[in-house]
């Protein structure tokens, strides 16, 4: 197995005449945490949507875990091992924590009963606890429904999904955009735990401090193209801002934007 978990070659997405994403070449190593930054409409979310199969790309190649992939939808991507934490939370409010973690992929018994096969609550509870320990999320009562939790707690549960299902790559699209200061800190702590676990991560964020805190490498998008690929140790906030605004363009990306 190579060290590269995800690679895109010339990834392109056009919405009619709008070139939302143009020729993105991107490499993510195993266990690496990479941030994607850029102004609104720079192509960050479009890029993520092509990888997770939410949309179908116009051109280009996506190579995941060593083989080219062509996900028909987000479920395919998840099956392959790409977990996405969406900006809008995909949790069912009236279900509790294990129910939400295992929604759509429940552990079951007596499978010949078809849709009426029995839920293996015990196994799901144990796996949930293991996943929560792995991410450092503490929930004294996992039987509480999501409706009774704060925004930060919900986001923690959404992220804990990734740890429960031995995923190969986690993508977070602005996971803290809607959260308060303390809740943001909680989520950031979980991201650090994931780093220690050796999980690969793509973090889409606008938050400069957060990005410098959490990731190894920063990719900057501008007007649908990648304009910079910066190691955290060799750059600073002002530098990144000048790439985002277009004051600077990375040497290897000259002529791109």
């Amino acid at each position: 197995m190579s060290d590269i978990i995800l690679e895109t070659k010339g990834l392109t997405k056009h919405y009619g005449g709008v070139h939302a994403l143009e020729g993105a070449d991107f490499v993510l190593n195993r266990g690496e945490h990479v941030a994607i930054m850029g102004d609104n409409g720079a192509g960050k979310s479009t890029f993520v949507r092509q990888i997770t199969g939410v949309e179908q790309r116009t051109r280009g190649e996506v190579i995941f875990n060593g083989s080219p992939v062509n996900f028909a939808g987000p479920l395919d991507a998840r099956e392959a091992g790409i977990e996405t934490v969406f900006q809008t939370l995909a949790l069912a409010d009236d279900l509790n924590v294990p129910d939400n973690l295992f929604l759509g992929r429940e552990k079951t018994k007596l499978n010949w009963l078809g849709p009426f096969r029995l839920l293996d609550y015990k196994a799901m509870r144990e796996d949930t606890m293991a996943g929560l320990v792995k991410t450092g999320v503490k929930i004294p009562n996992i039987k509480n429904t999501i409706a009774n939790m704060s925004g930060g707690q919900r986001q923690c549960v959404a992220i804990a999904r990734t740890a429960t299902f031995a995923s190969k790559l986690t993508i977070m699209d602005e996971p803290t955009a809607a959260l308060g200061v303390q809740e943001t800190a909680q989520v950031e702590n979980i991201v650090r735990t994931l780093k220690d676990q050796g999980e690969s991560l793509i973090l889409v964020s606008h938050n400069m401090r957060q990005v410098f805190d959490l990731v190894d490498r920063i990719i900057v998008f501008r007007r649908g193209r990648i304009v910079a690929n910066l190691n955290k140790s060799e750059t600073d906030g002002n530098d990144v801002v000048s790439y985002i605004t277009g004051a600077k363009t990375g040497a290897e990306f000259e002529g791109a934007a």
């Binding site: 479920l75 949790l91 279900l95 929604l103 849709p115 503490k138």
Partner: protein, 360 residues
């Protein structure tokens, strides 16, 4: 205790947000309503100290007035069976307005396969079909009834899940259509004279036994199977359910089919009990079934509610109906009271929703 608030990125446990099973509230309401009737029985001068549920004249061996208890549960059992299906539909954030009319249509069609050949030595004057459909074993009309209910459920389900027609409209259409079928079937004539074996299905306490057995079965299904979990998930957040890989349209069809089958079964029991089928059968049953579910704490917004709640809701309706008769008050008052209780139950649900939203 202090440990509960520690930990990296911890989810802390707040006791004020601890959950109280909704069924307990509904059960409390049932007890309260019984208590009100008992007190009125003691207080109102013309009642002579009678009791609603307790045996005050030593007519029975137990402390309860068994006769009234039996009436209360028998009169809600058949609509209760429909309510079990309606509960599941409402939990998916849908609604089924067609169940009463499906009962009407199924009653006519199923009964046509349950008729005897001879009445008092003469050929059955109400026979719908020729001799081939007379004196059939009881299982055939039962299967026909389940089939008719299933067909109605499949149509409802496909309209809601695949054609994206709002459940209210789709099942309103089915409500009118099925009532039309019931009237067209025998040009408005009743279908009568069932076989002896068929007449046993709904005789005596059979409706109650069937209702409670099905309630236990569906309580189990809703709580311990994938079907139940996905039903709650779809009603709670349909988009999340879809993103989690649940085949939402297929599941919705299954839910409406189960509701249709239960309506079909209710029709079989009803016709067996009444020994006749009429095109007007099941009128307003859909509303009473919805009322049982709503009073039992099933949220019309989906995602919340339970079979136990609906059973208690059915009992509340039974107690109120019996209670008004016992207080010698006319049926008008009874309907007014039921109307207020239903609106009150939904208002309470709304209020709880808003309180929950403002707390988190």
């Amino acid at each position: 205790m202090s440990d509960e608030s520690q930990g990296v990125g911890g989810l802390t446990y707040d006791k004020s947000k601890r959950q109280w099973p909704n069924e307990l509230n509904v059960f409390g309401a049932l007890i309260l309503i019984i208590a009100i009737f008992e007190i009125l029985g003691q207080v109102l001068p013309y009642m002579n100290g009678q009791s609603l549920l307790f045996d005050t004249r030593d007519r029975f061996d137990s402390i309860f007035n068994e006769q009234r208890l039996r009436i209360i549960i028998v009169q809600v059992a058949i609509i209760g069976i429909i309510a079990l299906g309606v509960t599941q539909v409402i939990i998916t954030a849908g609604i089924d307005l067609s169940s009463g009319s499906v009962v009407g249509a199924t009653a006519m069609i199923a009964m046509s396969f349950a008729q005897v050949a001879e009445v008092n030595g003469n050929p059955n004057p109400k026979a719908i079909f020729g001799e081939w459909a007379l004196d059939l074993p009881w299982l055939i009309p039962v299967l026909v009834g389940l089939l008719v209910g299933t067909v109605a459920g499949i149509i409802n389900g496909i309209l809601v899940a695949y054609s994206r027609i709002p459940p209210f409209i789709a099942t309103l259409g089915m409500m009118l259509f099925a009532r039309g079928v019931a009237q067209w079937w025998s040009k408005g004539n009743p279908v009568s004279f069932p076989t002896e074996s068929y007449a046993k299905i709904g005789a005596g306490m059979m409706p109650v036994i069937i209702f409670l057995s099905l309630a236990i079965l569906f309580h189990f299904i809703m709580n311990y199977t994938v079907y139940g979990k996905h039903t709650y998930a779809i009603g709670s957040n349909e988009q999340a359910a879809r993103m989690s890989g649940i085949n939402v349209p297929r599941h919705l069809v299954l839910v409406y089919v189960i509701a249709g089958m239960l309506a079909g079964l209710a029709a079989v029991i009803l016709t067996s009990k009444n020994l006749t089928a009429q095109s007007g059968m099941g009128l307003t049953y859909e509303l009473e079934a919805i009322a049982m579910a709503v009073i039992g704490g099933v949220s019309l917004f989906g995602g919340r509610g339970s079979i136990i709640g609906t059973v208690i809701g059915a009992l509340i309706i039974g107690v109120i109906t019996s209670g008004f008769t016992y207080l010698k008050l006319g049926a008008y008052y009874q309907e007014m009271a039921l109307g207020m209780i239903i609106v009150g139950a939904v208002a309470l649900d709304q209020w709880q929703q808003q309180r929950a939203a403002s707390r988190s």
